[in-house]
Symmetry: C2
Subunit: 234 residues, 2 copies
């Protein structure tokens, strides 16, 4: 029987690629999406399409209302920044940083993994293309893993150590897309935009759209999703 893995799945390009990698590595994927007060349900709809397409053993949407606290463009109280091109990204941690988000997500994943008796958690964090987020760095991931292996009954009483897999952490967006295309990922199912219109179309000028478009361009591939403002390259 294949090993179970909990896979954090936002429905974006990175987490979808990670799911395909976990499948290829022979894991039975348990998809975990988190409704954390995002402005848009569009992301969760994409996660459902991806989970079905990649044959998740199960797909669970957990709720945690981080929007209670505010403090981020992604939980609704700051405007999502728009720009012309990736080169315009300012240095430092972006306004779309959500306080402690990956810690909350990994904690919930750890809870589910323990109940499933799974020892593997996959997450699509990336330290290269969007290095502003502190909770996307390898040293953070290793520290979470150390903590997790002191936290659970599974680890302490049964010796089941948890591994946090972050197969994209050192890849560029172009390399991620190449990897996914080689694995047959349909990126038309995914959603990356931080600020889609009411029609669901990606804006083409938030940081997430810019990095996605640049990645497809550098990979020499066509992004199959539709954009509101342009279909070109950042």
């Amino acid at each position: 029987m294949p090993n179970k893995a909990v896979i954090l799945l936002s429905g974006g390009l990175d987490s979808t690629t990670v799911f395909a990698i976990a499948n290829r590595e022979g894991f039975d994927g348990y998809a975990l999406s988190i409704r954390y007060g995002q402005r848009h349900a569009i992301e969760l709809a994409a996660a459902e399409r991806v989970a079905a397409s990649l044959r998740a053993a199960e797909h669970v949407i957990a709720d945690v209302n981080l929007n209670l606290f505010g403090g981020s463009a992604l939980t609704g109280d700051i405007d999502v920044p728009k720009r012309e091109r990736v080169a315009d990204l300012p240095p430092g941690i972006p306004a779309t940083y959500v306080p402690a988000r990956n810690t909350v997500f990994l904690a919930i994943a750890l809870a589910w993994a323990e109940v499933l008796e799974a020892t593997d958690i996959f997450m699509g964090v990336n330290a290269l293309d969007y290095s502003g987020y502190p909770d996307c760095r390898p040293e953070y991931v290793r520290a979470f893993e150390t903590m997790a292996n002191l936290a659970t009954k599974a680890a302490v009483e049964q010796g089941r150590r948890t591994t946090i897999h972050t197969p994209l952490i050192e890849l560029t967006k172009a390399q991620i897309i190449e990897r996914g295309l080689a694995l047959g990922v349909d990126y038309g199912l995914t959603h990356s935009c931080y600020d889609p219109g009411s029609d669901g179309l990606a804006c083409g000028s938030c940081d997430s759209c810019l990095l996605r478009l640049k990645g497809f361009s550098e990979a020499g591939a066509i992004d199959p999703i539709a954009y509101k403002e342009r279909c070109g390259v950042a």
Copy 2:
């Protein structure tokens, strides 16, 4: 202006004592309760009474549906064990262990602390009287703190290190009660029972009631709350 602290407040005896200790240490207490699919709303009602009584600067109830996953007597899918006395507690991790609960709670506390620009989090974990829970041990708490200080924008960009305070971690239940009484805590506002009746009365025979009754007895004090089955000592 006093420093802000996020204080995890279940409305039980331990977290209430911790709140009083944080007050005494001069912190402005921001009470955080988590609705995680408990069987009973009685606990959250107690948290509200305690937050008001101890003059919380704010009291927030965050939701996270850990009951999606099951795996614990406290999220509803296993019966809460009942016993005659504390000596009957079996060794090992109890059935009331909730997978990764403290990790999820601390992660949410970390998110709120970052938004508040607070560097201090208080939690009523205890490694002595109820040492079965892996995520109540000092080594776990230190590992969480290490991880937290790699996770946030506050730590990485602004150098604001988070401290997790666990002032009860090495105390017996009797010592906790003595400390709280000396600080003027009204334990009549608190709720500890894992399995209260529909009338809200504590059962008197779950592990939490047994430890509480034993603590009051050893402290030479009277527990001011009413019990369903007995008012005596375990």
